[in-house]
């Protein structure tokens, strides 16, 4: 496919990274003459007020401060950022249309219909943050880890977990399968619904991103496991799924910056560098403190690798899961 193009982009990108390091604080993004000659648009795949929206606005602010560009943030919510992705397919690949969404939207989803795009149709300019998911429950629940949850489920005959989104459902299904327990995912629309079910005691546990942080701090809820590939920096004592012996695939999703694929290489390099500088800016770091998270740009290559890997893993699981379901 467009291997050559991507590769050249990477070369340019790494060359520019070296330049940036050399020149220290000087805003060294190498941009073609005359770019940008008009405002750059950030299309956020989620509604105003959400996490991705805040990220987009902070990055826009940092870019304006660092380079004097005008960045216009526009929300294009719908279908977990799939509406935004679809609209990017039709956008001019001139570097003025950049989308922000979740990398997991780009990954194979066996339950959803074909939404009319594939990750290979985009160019990923970088990422702004890793999403950290965790397994949590009310503090009054009689289990503190996965082993305890498994035992609890066996004793009770069944336990329920509120989940928002296919990637969370998958984790619960895999746990149920591995331990052969009746652990039932209860799919809801959005983290606030799963918080309600959990706080009201209607389900036994939940998987959450950030909505539970307030409850964790007040001691009302506790963490059972980190559902990402490492321990969570804000809760270093809580082991990951893998450390607890669970083979469920941890959720690895990042906030990605997306452009149409046929971007001019020079513009692409320019945008990648500008975004990297913004992600590493101080004002953006402040926002990350609010999210109990940290700024992390996996770079264009890193993001693509992550998406390819997730895509492959989920396809593999689903094909296996499908067979076991049919018997």
């Amino acid at each position: 496919m467009s291997r050559g193009g991507t590769f050249r982009g990477v070369l340019l990108w790494s060359a520019a990274t070296v330049l940036t390091l050399d020149m220290q604080d000087a805003r060294a993004a190498t941009c073609p003459d005359g770019f940008p000659s008009k405002p750059v648009n950030f299309y956020v795949g989620y509604a105003a007020g959400g996490g991705t929206d805040a990220i987009a606005r902070m990055l826009a602010k940092a870019i304006e401060e660092q380079h004097g560009w005008t960045v216009v943030v526009e929300n294009r919510p719908g279908a977990a950022s799939a509406v935004m992705a679809r609209s990017l397919l039709n956008a001019e690949p001139d570097g003025y249309s950049i989308g922000l969404g979740s990398s997991d939207t780009m990954v194979y989803n066996p339950t959803a219909d074909d939404l009319g795009f594939h990750y290979s149709e985009f160019h990923f300019l970088g990422s702004a943050m890793d999403s950290w998911n965790s397994f949590a429950a009310l503090s009054s629940m009689p289990f503190d880890d996965i082993a305890g949850l498994v035992e609890y489920t066996r004793e009770k005959g069944m336990a329920t977990v509120a989940v928002a989104g296919f990637n969370q459902t998958l984790v619960v299904q895999q746990l149920a399968e591995q331990y052969d327990i009746n652990l039932v995912p209860v799919p809801v629309e959005g983290s606030s619904e799963s918080m309600m079910l959990t706080l009201g005691g209607h389900v036994d546990a939940t998987i959450q991103g950030v909505a539970h942080l307030g409850e964790l701090r007040s001691g009302n809820m506790k963490l059972i496991a980190s559902v990402t590939e490492h321990r969570l920096p804000y809760a270093p004592d809580i082991p990951t799924l893998e450390e607890q012996g669970a083979t469920a695939l941890p959720i690895q999703s990042v906030t990605v910056l997306i452009a149409p694929r046929e971007l001019d290489p020079e513009v692409r390099t320019c945008l990648e560098e500008v975004i990297d500088e913004a992600v590493n800016s101080e004002s953006y770091a402040e926002l990350m403190v609010q999210f109990n998270n940290r700024a992390l740009n996996r770079g264009p290559e890193g993001v693509l690798e992550l998406i390819e890997q997730r895509d492959k893993q989920i396809r593999a699981i689903f094909e296996g899961g499908n067979q076991s379901k049919s018997n």
Binding site: A54, N75, D113, L115, G116, Q290
Partner: protein
């Protein structure tokens, strides 16, 4: 206890009464009112547009302004519904049913005055609840599981069938159509897209605003073109605005009941003000001794829904502020604002930032008083709208509807959808199919489905869950009683007709 409350009130007032906060409160409520009056223009879109500005404001100030837009729009929402039969917001659609007939009878001023009074009353109840009973109310809200939600929505759906006049069969048919339209979009349980025909804009379902503006807005414009009648507005003096003693006598009980309904639905995250305004209308029609007056300009039918949706607006801040659980996209925006300012919403917030919580609460009082002061003098001006010739007014309304619908989602697809619904709505109206039950079916149907399936997951497929949980069982009984009562009424009416026939 009382001492604490007084201290908190003083703290809140001193926060809310700073010059900056007062100014932003005034900006918020004024904008909200304007947005509410203009059909289609949504609060969420307005708040989203102003959202970036709030980065540069103190969090308390920012919430005061955004909240002002939210509850301010509820005051404005009924204005166009009464005067032009065009709801400014989906939740005021039901006000059209009696508000517009009142305007045609030259009582627009009274209707507007009473909705303002009702709005203020409902909002006050909501704020008082927030001040005194936030914590226990949140416990009640959380104790509602999927089974309870489902059972009380059944009550709502049965009530929906009585909203409109005329044929009950047609009303039920429209509820069903509404439920079916609500099915469109991604199924949360399985992730399957239903009835989207490859249109990615439909993945999140049909937009409520597009549906409401099509069926009520566009259809009404077409209807009026067909039979452009000039309304005699009479003289708009202060006196013609004043409700008669009869109006007040008829209104005070509905106001009390409606603020109860509104507050109840407000504290339930995810239910929204539309349901409360529709249901309080249905309740008033049910308990009224002269239900036949409804749909022909009954003051109760105007006051009740407006009171309910304002109570609901204020009460919806309770789960948002106390639990950090937003009940709607609008509330999510408020929460997002807190997070950006480094405040973790949730149980700890009230203790950590009492100035914020109480400042916002006290600003609600100020905002609502401002809204009353803004609204009463405006009534005379609004009524003058009716003197604008139709050939000027209606094209302008269509433009506003299009802008409004577009502003919600930023998609032209929704604009075309609105026009399509307008055509369908016009056709339905020609054949006497009422639009209000459709809207309620559309709002309640998908919620019921989700709650039902969730309850089935939790009970492993046993229907017992609806009757073994006491609160749910009570709602089921109420629904059954309502149904039996309706059937009994139908039977009695039939018998009356039959026994009259021989003579």
């Amino acid at each position: 206890m009382l001492n604490d409350l007084l201290l908190n009130l003083a703290l809140g007032l001193s926060t809310a009464l700073t010059v900056e906060n007062l100014i932003y409160c005034a900006i918020g409520v004024t904008l909200g009112m304007v947005v509410g009056v203009l059909p289609g223009l949504g609060t969420l879109a307005t708040m989203s547009m102003l959202f970036p500005i709030t980065f540069y404001l103190e969090p308390t100030t920012a919430i005061i302004m955004l909240a002002g837009i939210w509850y301010g729009s509820s005051y404005g929402g009924s204005t166009a519904a009464i005067l032009l039969n065009l709801p400014g917001t989906p939740s005021s659609a039901v006000v059209c049913l009696d508000g517009y007939p009142m305007a045609r009878q030259g009582r627009a001023g009274v209707a507007l005055f009473m909705t303002t009074a009702g709005s203020f009353f409902g909002a006050s109840v909501g704020i008082v609840l927030m001040m005194l009973f936030s914590q226990p109310l949140v416990k009640v809200a959380l104790s509602f599981g999927p089974a309870e939600y489902f059972s009380f929505m059944i009550v709502g759906l049965i009530a929906a069938c009585v909203i409109s006049d005329g044929s009950a069969i047609k009303g039920i048919a429209m509820v069903m159509v509404g439920i079916l339209l609500g099915v469109v979009g991604l199924d949360v349980q399985t992730g399957q897209a239903r009835f989207i025909f490859g249109i990615v804009e439909l993945v999140d379902g049909i937009s409520l605003v597009a549906l409401a503006m099509g069926f009520f807005g566009i259809a009404e414009v077409m209807w009026s073109v067909r039979q452009a009648a000039v309304t005699d507005i009479g003289r708009v003096s202060l006196r013609s605005m004043m409700p008669t003693r009869e109006d007040i006598r008829r209104s005070w009980m509905p106001m009390i009941r409606a603020s109860g309904i509104g507050s109840f639905f407000g504290i339930m995250p995810g239910v929204g003000p539309s349901v409360s305004s529709f249901l309080s209308y249905a309740l008033e029609k049910k308990v009224s001794r002269e239900p036949e007056r409804f749909g022909k300009g009954a003051i109760e039918g105007v006051v009740a829904p407006e009171t309910a949706n304002n109570a609901s607006d204020q009460a919806s801040f309770i789960p948002t502020m106390v639990l950090g659980i937003p009940g709607s996209a609008t509330m999510a925006l408020i929460l997002g604002l807190l997070i950006i300012h480094g405040i973790t919403p949730g149980p700890a917030m009230m203790a950590e930032r009492p100035d914020l919580f109480w400042g916002v609460v006290m600003s609600f009082w100020i905002g609502n008083i401002l809204l009353v002061l803004l609204n009463i003098p405006m009534i005379g001006i609004w009524v003058r709208l009716l003197t604008i010739p139709y050939h000027v007014l209606y094209p302008a309304i269509v433009v506003f509807i299009c802008i409004g619908v577009y502003s919600v989602s930023g998609s032209t697809f929704d604009v075309f959808l609105t026009l399509l619904f307008g055509l369908v709505g016009y056709g339905a109206r020609l054949m006497g199919f009422p639009a209000a039950p459709l809207l309620l079916g559309f709002v309640l149907g998908p919620m019921m489905e989700q709650q039902f399936r969730r309850a089935m997951l939790l009970s492993r497929g046993s229907l017992d869950i609806f009757v073994t949980r006491p609160v749910s069982a009570a709602f089921v009984l109420l629904a059954a009683a309502l149904l039996l009562w309706s059937l009994w009424n139908v039977y009695r009416a039939r018998r009356a007709v039959v026994s009259e026939q021989p003579s």
